[in-house]
Symmetry: C2
Amino acid sequence: MTAPASNPLLSDRDVDFQLYEVLDAESLCKLPAFADHSRETFTLFLDSTRRFARDVLAPTYRLMDAEPPTFRDGRVHVHPLMRTLYPQLVELGLLAATRPVETGGQQLPLTVYSLASAYLMAANLSAYAFIGLTTGAAHLIEAFGSEWLKDTFMAKMYAGQWTGTMALTEPHAGSSLADVRTRATPAEDGTYRVSGSKIFISGGDHDFGENVVHLTLGRIDGAPAGVRGLSLFAIPARRPEGGRLVDNDVRVAGAIHKIGWKGIPSLALNYGEGGDCRGWLVGQAGKGLNHMFQMMNEARIMVGFNAVSTASVAYHEALAYARNRPQGRLSWEKDAARPQRPIIEHADVRRMLLRQKAIVEGGLSLLSMASWQADVAEHGATPEARERAGLLSDLLTPLAKTFPAEKGFEANALSIQVHGGYGYSTEYLPEAWLRDQKLNSIHEGTTGIQGLDLLGRKVVAAGGGGLRAFVEEVEATVERARRAGVDPSWGEALNEALQRVVGLTMELGQAGMAGDVERMLRHSADYMELFSVLAVAWRWLAQAAAAREGLARGAAGQDFYEGKIAAAQYWIHTELPRVAQLVELCRSGEDSYTRMQPDWF
Amino acid sequence: MTAPASNPLLSDRDVDFQLYEVLDAESLCKLPAFADHSRETFTLFLDSTRRFARDVLAPTYRLMDAEPPTFRDGRVHVHPLMRTLYPQLVELGLLAATRPVETGGQQLPLTVYSLASAYLMAANLSAYAFIGLTTGAAHLIEAFGSEWLKDTFMAKMYAGQWTGTMALTEPHAGSSLADVRTRATPAEDGTYRVSGSKIFISGGDHDFGENVVHLTLGRIDGAPAGVRGLSLFAIPARRPEGGRLVDNDVRVAGAIHKIGWKGIPSLALNYGEGGDCRGWLVGQAGKGLNHMFQMMNEARIMVGFNAVSTASVAYHEALAYARNRPQGRLSWEKDAARPQRPIIEHADVRRMLLRQKAIVEGGLSLLSMASWQADVAEHGATPEARERAGLLSDLLTPLAKTFPAEKGFEANALSIQVHGGYGYSTEYLPEAWLRDQKLNSIHEGTTGIQGLDLLGRKVVAAGGGGLRAFVEEVEATVERARRAGVDPSWGEALNEALQRVVGLTMELGQAGMAGDVERMLRHSADYMELFSVLAVAWRWLAQAAAAREGLARGAAGQDFYEGKIAAAQYWIHTELPRVAQLVELCRSGEDSYTRMQPDWF
């Protein structure tokens, strides 16, 4: 047995469906920011990206997974393929795709850009990560940096000459940014002398470009403890001086041996071991975390896309395998002389595939919606529209980051299971994608942190304004589904679950306002779980509605629409009922793990 | 950060608790078969095994994981450490520990043997696997082989000179044993000339012992198609001839590059490429699968122990890490100047640890019970006792195999999550245990096959006799918990869930008897899930009862008992309610994945 020869990475039909049937992506072009765009320009961008992902990038994945970067003589050497891949990725116009024309960008909607980049992630997650990180770092300079920083750093990053990183985590503090210790001492030239250590810096060094700029959280001498004392700095590996680049005293202290994402190094960095590391303040002193967090939705939505893409490529691999692999007969077929059946005909294999489909396409739909709200939040027609979309984007982001990371991991494990013993081997790729996937519940805020963010901040923000907007969106979808002729019991079930979640949220929010923060947040993990199930059920109802509309129009691809309706049925009948049970759990105040003492384990 | 220096693998206190407080292992010594044993002999065996596992075996794990076997010039070379480890494992008396004295064994109860071997599995799964496989293969010869086979093959296997394998799977058939094609042609000397190919043969070759005996399913010329045509053969790599061992024409065709269990090779074997491979029939012609299946409970219980041990070692690693790693403060502590807290104090970390504990110790308790029933099935005082225990053992085996494999995988993933970014690296061990764990849902019957076995056979066997015995056992535990002073609502909740499951089983069984096998088995995966949750809730109620009894006696270790009660509360309050929801799902006849057509994906 060999792996199926070609894997679509994502279904083109599904991506188009999400854009033009579930959402109405063309309507974005009515916004002034996107006025130069049309379905044609979207398609051009999507097609060139898809083609590159399939023809060029996907075949490099296994090679880069097998030969991770090496760390020798203080420098990191990545897979030599990156030397040709990176310029090609740059050539596709990815780095500044969503940025304004004046920064060299195309001002594409994030919604379109993200769906296109999902193909690149599915093809080779870590090769694309160099792009994603560079865009994120350059975007911070664009938003908050001085004109000099824009001209000197940002322009080279968007142009693909320099790459960028996000340098937040420190060895002793992990997720606890309040404890960041990296020091920045003001110098007379207006820059800062920086000293400190960072860890898990993805893309922190490589040998295919001329420079790396680390967007770094640090603390200016005398700044207060905690997150309020943090400032943001641009710290290049080599600084411009006298018309050339000179060493800026950023040292690679070591490389983490990651279990996945093997194409991109994860490094420990030391700043200023020689006392000569210069950092440039980006934005206002003491506003470092604020500035970072203004980019956080985009960064976390990107992680969600990392996750859903990794689940998607594995799902398509399992699907092709199940269609081609004959094995066994159905339970009621006793005649061993008849030929074996393709395993897709076994109910349990089909269940595993349908579950993968429900997670992948439900996650993709959730992420498309989160990107859409981010687009409207930035470029909406009115201040009210932007504010409402901002609240929705804030609310959806932790869900859109966490659901694909957590359930995507389950989907990736199912892809191995469908492959049976072969899936347990490195001769097949599902195991590699499973390794890649595990990071997504850890980086850019762990699942635990997303749960606290959702319940502790997002659903109670602006007096519950985000939650109210969410309720309106769900109700509009229920109405759309009703009109489209979707089984009305599905919308009723969704609405009932929604009301339960709203009731629970008010109850927990009141506990918090009454000062019982522990009680409010105790079940944040369960809350994240139930809200994810609900949000994905909403996206599946929207997809069922769009599918019914397609069938009613007599649009091509009846099979595709039937599959959408079956997957919606699956999610609504098998997953949605968990919401009521989890709401009860949260309401009950179940205290086993808060009662549990460290010595009792 | 380095990994905690010592990992207990399993908690001794918990193993003793399962044996002597939850169960009454000393009472087994009243059975004639175990009359020579006592708590002292059990302790001797457990202690020597524990010590070896911790002091000798565990330190070899990382080395063997990093240097998997190589396949050169037709031979497999395993890690050189195996040359010293295997004789030491043999020296511990493991190979025939449960076998009668006349075969060189100690006739230990499986319950005691399994709990002891769990330490070895937790220490180094694949090193132990050579033992487990050899025992299984020798046991087949002991049970069904001729005296000559016992003297010639079995004796050397139990003595540790030769090793053994189980050779069932073929490349074109995977789980579908009905399609096994390996051919056996009767020869005049009473043996068979064998030709065919097997795949995924664990331990199929190595370089630390003088011979390997493959217990092989094949088809005698003229035998019918399907499983009824299968016979069992002992096929040594080298056959005794004229007082020495000569090549028996068994060739290693290739090695699978597994993602875990890296200490033991998984091989493709070809029999009889040169026309000179001799097999010895074991038992009756045409009864091969029957014979295999008489050993199946033991083999599957062993896989359950593989799984729970792999989850256990990772849980203990996460626990030590969480106690020692300071990071962040509690949600309501705003003062960044105070020291960071060990992460075990964060509610969500504690939840992840408690979930791991609930899975590990709940799984261990289920496996102890399954082993206990297997002991009584073989050695019970009366035919009635043996028959009842046999039915229970049959019923519990698919659960005891599947629950630790599936939920153990989740527990292993949580161990990575507790370790954060460090958990995503090979500098720490949780990722290795996650890789090991994934096999357990695949080998010895996939999770899908276990679900079909449970619902299609075990709960309806003997007119529902196994299910009735299960109900009696659960009711006895509810009564024990009531007397011990466990919160009575827990027993009531368990009983209610039990009644729902019994009702569902009758409904599905009737559908099957009415000829609608598809309807009966459609939700076998959900049925497996709900029955697992129920069975583990039963084991947690039993543990809560034993803990309350311990507290009432004033036994030492109050913290330990409090932890047991909190974990029981966790399972009963957070997991048990899922039974009702899943029962409804199965009853509803939800048909999304049977309706789903291959072309709709």
